[in-house]
């Protein structure tokens, strides 16, 4: 198991390098000019100097190498400095956004809590809704509950989040006026009343994403339970006189959770990607919204770093899923 983990970790390094190269080369083709916003009165030689100050004068491979160094060497140092108060990174150039001229990672850190709150909460909620529904509808296959549950999960899976989000806004913000349609990220929770305000503004984005996630996961849970319910060991457990509750909730559930746990782990990075749309609908200024605005503003270092962070999440959670699978299922041997 340990050798497998180490091998996968080693293998992840070239994968990540290659992905960052792909993203970098794709962005190199960008037609936009970061100097487009500079007034025409600025003489061309000054423009040329500004271009070089952004690091654009260097050949492509040097630019790529510099980005790698900044992202993998300087930024961790900044993090260490921030935690321990040391000064490793002093005077070193960080990945700078062309839009704001401030370090990209600082902006990411500012935006992260909003995304984590909304997206993380919705994922946890989605899983918590999905598991009982999946278990019960598999246990009572073809019952009314199962039929309705399957239909609802099919609908939740098919209706895109940008439609459910807008629909909820129309119903609950425009017509009923219960919840605000715009997520206010400057809101601070200090006492009970402000907590209620925070809750009210979180309900809609969280429920939109939670419905979507719950639909997918409950389908997996149901299928996995159905696979296990007809196995021989279930008959054995019943034959030796165990209660129905023990059979289903201990024996079957533990076995069917193995694939579901890996699916849940694999879904985490996709949720971050999918949240781009939900954040746009509810005007949450999280990572997704940051990506959209930086794409529109041609802010290449920001786009590069953000896209790479998404890729990093995917690789890391793939690894976690594989390792979890090995730990949970003793039949799996990675040798």
């Amino acid at each position: 198991m340990l050798t497998f983990t180490i091998r996968r970790l080693v293998l992840a390094v070239p994968t990540l390098l290659f992905i960052s190269l792909v993203i970098f080369m794709l962005l190199q083709l960008a037609p936009g000019d970061p100097m487009a916003q500079v007034p025409l009165t600025v003489p061309p030689e000054v423009k040329e100097k500004m271009r070089e100050a952004l690091g654009l004068g260097a050949p492509v491979h040097i630019q790529f190498f510099k980005w790698l160094v900044q992202f993998f060497w300087v930024e961790p140092q900044v993090l260490i400095d921030h935690i321990f108060g040391t000064t490793f990174s002093e005077g070193q150039l960080r990945v700078l956004s062309w839009q704001t001229r401030s370090p990209v990672m600082d902006i990411v850190v500012q935006r992260l809590p909003q995304t984590l709150w909304v997206v993380g909460m919705s994922y946890v909620l989605g899983v918590m809704i999905a598991l009982p529904i999946g278990i019960y509808s598999a246990y009572r296959q073809y019952s009314a509950f199962d039929q309705i549950g399957t239909f609802v999960s099919m609908v939740g899976f098919s209706v895109p989040t940008f439609f459910t989000g807008v629909l909820l806004i129309v119903v609950f913000s425009v017509n009923l006026g219960w919840f605000p349609s715009i997520y206010d990220t400057t809101h601070k929770v200090t006492d009970w009343d402000s907590f209620i305000v925070q809750l009210r503004q979180m309900i809609m984005p969280v429920s939109v994403l939670a419905l979507y996630n719950a639909a997918q996961i409950s389908r997996f849970m149901r299928a996995s339970m159905l696979d296990n319910l007809n196995q021989d060991y279930v008959r054995t457990a019943r034959a030796k006189g165990l209660g129905e509750k023990t059979v289903v909730l201990v024996h079957v559930l533990r076995n069917s959770m193995i694939p579901v746990v890996t699916v849940i782990a694999l879904g985490v990075p996709q949720v971050f990607g999918g949240a781009i749309i939900t954040e746009q609908v509810f005007k949450v200024n999280g990572l997704g919204q940051l990506l959209i605005t930086s794409i529109e503003a041609n802010d290449l270092p920001m786009v590069q770093t953000l896209t790479f962070i998404f890729a990093l999440l995917i690789v890391v959670f793939n690894l976690i899923a594989d390792i979890l699978y090995g730990i949970l299922d003793p039949r799996i041997r990675y040798d």
Binding site: T15, F18, I19, V22, I23, L26, L27, L29, A30, P31, M154, V155, F157, S158, V159, P160, F162, F163, V166, L167, I169, V170, V174, N175, P269, G273, G274, I276, I277, Q280, L291, I292, I295, E296, V303, L306, T307, F310, A311, L313, I314, V315, N318
Partner: protein, 304 residues
Amino acid sequence: MTELINQPIPTTPPRSQWRDIWDQFKSHRGALLGGIVFLMIVLAVFIGPWFWPYDATFIDIRARNQGPSWAHPLGTDQLGRDMLARMMAGGQTSVSVGITAMLLALILGSLIGVMAGYFRKLDNLLMRTTDLFLALPLLPLLLVMVLLFREPLNAAFGPETGIFILIVTAIGITSWMPTARIVRGDVLALKEREFVLAARSIGTTNTRMITRHILPNVMSPIMVSATLGIANAIITESALSFLGLGFPPDFPTWGRLLFDAVDYMQQYPERVLWPGLAISLTVLSVNYLGDGLRDALDPRIRGR
């Protein structure tokens, strides 16, 4: 000879495989309904404009922002364009993008899957490539690709064809991976079967082997991923249009109509409803269709 003739002759003619599949498919009520609904939507958006007097881009500024009436059953938008005509035009684009992108993804996926499964030398390389593509953050990359290549393609093919080619290609090359994986798995299993050995022993070439023996046997997973691919492509296209990075405003798609309607959400909420419902209904029907096809094409479930 006479003994053979005296044997009881089977009274019913032999049943073909497609007949069995159709029977199983029919018994899945949701799938049948899904298929019918999808067919109706496709017919409505492609044949409807012939019978509808208004053009999707015809501007009648005096009749702007009208509610539903007999002349305009879905009302008109802020420039007085008929919403029903726009919905049909948008549906044409959305459905064609969905189907074309699905076909592209399917061809790529099957090609790579068959190659990886059939030729052992290519397997490692192709599957590592597939893994790599699976590790790419797709939606951000799609956004980046649309941003980067929109202008050159617009210049080369005109704004409408250019963006169509761009979106179809972008969706196609970012969604072939699941098909490739499934097809490869099936090909690996098929390759060890006796009929492949028999075919090889009479000197079948690789090309003939793939087209005549392997491909027909992997058709069922390919067809299932085709239906799921349409749903995925329609949603992705709408999402891109919804983020404002898809088709231009005078070239409606369902996602674009929804995006435009969001600005007028407070005054005319029904304008949000129609495109959203159209997307959801199409995707839902296609998903049910895929569910039924999966059951019908799986011989282990069929006949149960």
